[in-house]
Subunit: 244 residues, 2 copies
DNA sequence: CGGGTGGTTGAATGAAATCAACTATGGTGG
DNA sequence: CCACCATAGTTGATTTCATTCAACCACCCG
């Protein structure tokens, strides 16, 4: 199976074999990181671009009171703001959730890639725009959805994104989230998330494990959430083309 | 006074007089739009890039139930996702709040600008990254701030952004918001916003009019909100250089 | 075996929405 | 000019929702 990064970009724009080779080469420098490891902190000077090759990560902020808000989840193929290097300091932190393989692409190499391969530049653009769309959808969820819908919506989004990059099959999608993390993502307390999550289980949408959570009925979950995937802007790959 | 668009970009990166001339030329086609006028709807095919030259606008989504969530506010100098044209359909709507002068830059002209003037491309990038930072900050507010902090934080952000583009002086910043709009932005009901806003008035931070709202004490408001402006990533202009 | 983390549950408190009534204002048409 | 209506804002009473607090279980790991 190809690099998850390539795999994801393919979902947005055509990637030639030359593009692919260059991407693979750029991702050569990668490390295996443990779970709960911070790649970069708010306030730090931005460094290279991080690309998640396997595992899960997230971006988040800690408030003065100590509470945490997870802003977005990163899965294989995702990268942190490509050109973040133009900014003086990070306005958020990025950390792993599970053990993860992450590549670091130096800034200059990234810029070269963009200049030399317009097709890649376009794919990057696309990806950035989709990321912004995800942020907008998150704002809508937080502002105007009920807590149950909110949880369901987040899980739906993650399922769809997993499918788009081919790391989820049709049924029984497993996610490595503690309820505490889920709470930090949807802006609620862990105990309330617990009650919601069991309500979803009672409805037959989920199964619960310790530190994991299994989507049993995505259709039902989508229905509860009022989920529409238009904001994920997938174009090229279709649901049917499961294999590479 | 120069085009607000130019003015804003200057805050992020150097803009030469040639850059400026090109920008001015690109903004030649502009229209005066009434208040509450939708520039584009969710589901539409993206058209040209919109640039706000004067007045206020916002991006928003309407949920199936009819409730609205304002995602972000647009003020003079702001534009909607530059390269949104690569996406197939809009995942949100954009509408004016007040009467507004807005320029439309055709997609091809935009792309030419970016290719011909790397300095502008960089300024655009910067601006996009800042916009993403604003979205992230909004998510944090919605998730982990109290309702009072949330309202105060939004108002602070808008004040700072207004200052950055030079349309706000030191004191008494006027904003053309009904409490209903404010409610749609912070994800609360109008009646609750009302109570919060009067609490802020009682504290001496605000003054209230019908359809407007005046920031009387930004320092106090910042303190209530726990506001830090690092995520706005302003670099070049300093608070002192008020005049062009 | 003891301690830590994640999860579960109930009771009490607090926050926000809802419902409802009412004021003030500006615009419109008779 | 006035009657009428629509919109924005205000206020109180009530209900719903989520947090807080607290206790407890299960499990893994040292």
């Amino acid at each position: 199976m190809a690099n998850a990064f390539v795999e994801k970009l393919r979902g947005y724009a055509p990637v030639s074999s030359l593009d692919e080779a260059l991407l693979e080469k750029a991702c050569v420098r990668s490390r295996k990181l443990p779970a709960d490891y911070d790649l970069i902190h708010e306030g730090d000077r931005p460094g290279p671009v991080f690309v998640i090759l396997s595992g899960w990560a997230c971006s988040y902020k800690i408030l003065p009171g100590g509470s945490r808000q997870i802003i977005s989840f990163l899965m294989p193929g995702d990268f942190c703001d490509i050109h973040v290097a133009v900014l003086a300091e990070m306005d958020h932190s990025i950390g792993t959730i599970t053990e993860a393989q992450v590549a670091t692409i130096p800034r200059d190499q990234m810029e070269e890639l963009v200049e030399v391969r317009p097709s890649l530049a376009k794919a990057f653009w696309w990806s950035q725009l989709v990321d912004a769309g995800v942020l907008r959808a998150t704002i809508v969820s937080m502002g105007r959805r009920t807590s149950l819908e909110r949880v369901a919506h987040l899980l739906c989004e993650l399922c769809f994104r997993m499918r788009n990059i081919g790391i989820a099959t049709e049924e029984s999608i497993v996610m490595p989230f503690t309820q505490i993390m889920l709470a930090d993502a949807v802006g609620m307390t862990p105990v309330h998330v617990n009650r919601l999550v069991r309500k979803l289980r009672a409805a037959g949408a989920l199964e619960l494990g310790v530190g994991t959570l299994i989507i049993a009925d995505l259709k039902l979950l989508s229905q509860i959430a009022g989920f529409y995937d238009n904001y994920l802007h997938r174009r090229l790959r279709t649901r049917q083309s499961a294999t590479a």
